[in-house]
Amino acid sequence: MATSQEVMQVKQMVREAMQEEGVSADTLIRLGQMAEAVLKDKSLYPQFIQAIIDNDLAEEEDISTEIDYELIGVFATLGEMTRQMIASGELGA
């Protein structure tokens, strides 16, 4: 089981990766919200994919029509962690 200290370390890693690759907090939060929406209603998955393409986060040929729950879970967690980091002041809004 991961510890809260490990969670803090992962958050630090995410912050660094965001800076290095130029990924904004807003992008992660929106992706997270969409991922959570897909978990609640799987029919929203196409819209989720379209949003990724529209935001130039993936190429069309990369997209699968099948739901990758692991990836969805990672996106949802990233969104939640980003919200937490903004709330705690670890990350600028």
């Binding site: 089981m1 991961a2 510890t3 809260s4 200290q5 490990e6 969670v7 370390q9 992962v10 958050k11 890693m13 995410v14 990766a17 965001m18 290095e20 690759e21 130029g22 990924v23 959570e36 897909v38 978990l39 609640k40 799987k42 998955y45 196409p46 935001n55 130039d56 986060l57 993936a58 190429e59 040929e61 990369d62 997209i63 699968s64 029509t65 099948e66 739901i67 990758d68 729950y69 692991e70 990836l71 969805i72 879970g73 990672v74 949802a76 967690t77 990233l78 939640e80 962690m81 937490q84």
Partner: protein, 475 residues
């Protein structure tokens, strides 16, 4: 560089660690994924286990796959296509009725099943075996993918152990509650009814046996005495009320003595001595004058008035009788002067004594009134003593009840302790699950156990200790 390339690199960097801490960073996520995969009818335990298995299963992004591989060949998607030939968007609906992990655990080893999944993939025959084992539909299992199913097999063991543990804990808790109820009932205070010649105890209890009242009733004999004493007490109280008036003369007498003593003490010792001499001389004066008249008359009758004889030396000539007379007066004055000092001290002492006497009278004014209360107080004390005699049955009942309650409570405590110990002794046995314990060896995926703990409300909060003044997290 295009945004999508940067984003791919970002995902490759963070996906694995984020997935590893997802259960802690976002606890609601695991059951949400599980519900999405297993269907809304899945129980919380199943949803948590399936969700954890899905999140732990592929980790394709972590391995550095391309975005395409991540999005298309992630464990779940690939497995679904391989086994069922359809995806989530193909209209395939999760099987219903799979709301519990209740397969025949003893028939097939989960380790063997897991090994088969690893070696053969999720071919229909393997899916069927896993479905029989876990109770989940092949469709749901297909969505989990190969790695996810292996994680689920591990979680099945953990889940079963958790369920067994929960039931064992409930059994133990029930036993402890029953033991506590027995101990509490045994510890209830149970007074004993007692009757003596002087009275009878009276305890009141409610339907549950709780004491809600305590009292006593005096015997007719005691009541009769108390009634007569009450009459005496009334009379004594009346006397006490009249005492102040009765003793009032003492106060007047005391004031008179104080005034008289003040007169004696108002003079100095010399004044007192002079007064003494004056008063004594005044007392002697009439007799001395009478003696002088008699002497003068005698001398006149003898014709010797004015006759004087020489006394020798430088003393003048005088009449012997007259000389004796005046010498006696001088001697008397000398004696008075010698006594005057002592008499002055005596008079001052006498004045002080008058004060003492007056103070004594004043004190008697008060002590007399206090003593006047004695008849009333005696009657009341006697009546109170009779009341104590009547009260004894209640006190005896309380005392005996306390002793018997203590022994009963001890018996209840021993019984309670025995039940609790027995429950503790049986707890491991109750929690034991042959198949569950067998699965323990493979149920070591922290994310899976974390999800199960979350599902069962088990806290995974980190533990801290203060070491050398620092708050340090400990295992």
């Amino acid at each position: 560089m295009a945004n999508w390339k940067k984003f791919k690199k970002f995902v490759q960097k963070v996906a694995k660690p984020v997935a590893a801490v997802a259960a802690i960073a976002f606890p609601a996520l695991i059951p949400a994924i599980g519900s999405a995969i297993a269907g809304s009818t899945a129980t919380a335990a199943v949803a948590s286990a399936v969700g954890a298995a899905a999140l732990a299963g592929g980790a394709s992004a972590i391995a550095g796959d391309s975005t395409k591989e991540i999005l298309t060949n992630a464990a779940l998607g690939g497995a679904i296509q391989a086994v069922t030939g359809g995806g989530l968007l193909s209209g395939t609906t999760p099987a219903t009725g799979t709301t519990a992990i209740s397969g025949n655990y003893s028939a097939v080893s989960p380790t063997q099943l897991s090994a088969t999944v690893a070696s053969q993939g999720l071919i229909p025959s393997v899916l069927s075996s896993v479905s029989n084992f876990t109770g989940l539909s092949t469709d749901t299992l297909g969505k989990l993918g190969s790695a996810g199913v292996q994680a689920l097999l591990s979680s099945a063991g953990a889940s079963q152990i958790a369920q067994q543990g929960r039931e064992a804990a409930q059994t133990q808790a029930d036993a402890q509650v029953r033991a506590a109820q027995i101990a509490a009932d045994a510890a209830k205070f149970r007074p004993v009814g007692v009757t003596t010649r002087f009275g009878q105890s009276a305890f009141a209890t409610d339907a549950q046996g709780n004491v809600i009242g305590a009292g006593y009733s005096a015997s007719p004999e005691i009541l009769g005495y108390q009634n007569r004493l009450s009459a005496l007490a009334n009379q004594g109280l009346t006397q006490a009320e009249q005492a102040a008036t009765a003793y009032q003369p003492l106060t007047g007498a005391a004031q008179s003595l104080f005034s008289l003593g003040q007169g004696y003490l108002a003079k100095s010792p010399e004044q007192a001595a002079a007064d003494y001499i004056s008063k004594q001389q005044a007392l002697l004066a009439p007799s001395q004058e009478n003696q002088l008249a008699l002497l003068q008359n005698k001398l006149f009758q003898q014709g010797r008035t004015g006759a004087a004889t020489a006394q020798g030396g430088n003393l003048m000539a005088t009449n012997p009788e007259m000389a004796a007379y005046y010498n006696s007066i001088a001697q008397s004055n000398l004696a008075l002067a010698a006594q005057a000092d002592q008499e002055a001290r005596n008079r001052i002492t006498f004045g002080g004594g008058l004060f003492n006497t007056g103070a004594g009278l004043q004190n008697q004014f008060y002590s007399g009134q206090t003593a006047a209360y004695a008849p009333f107080a005696t009657a009341m004390d006697t009546s109170s003593g009779l009341e104590s005699l009547a009260q004894q049955p209640m006190n005896l009942g309380t005392s005996i009840g306390a002793k018997t309650t203590a022994s009963t409570a001890e018996a209840g405590r021993l019984l309670s302790g025995g039940i609790t110990s027995a429950a503790a002794t049986m707890a491991p046995s109750n929690a034991y699950s042959a198949s569950g314990n067998l699965l323990t060896g493979v149920a070591n995926n922290p994310m899976v156990t974390g999800a199960i703990n979350n599902a069962f409300g088990v806290s995974n909060a980190p533990k801290y200790q203060i070491i050398n003044g620092q708050l340090v997290q400990v295992p």
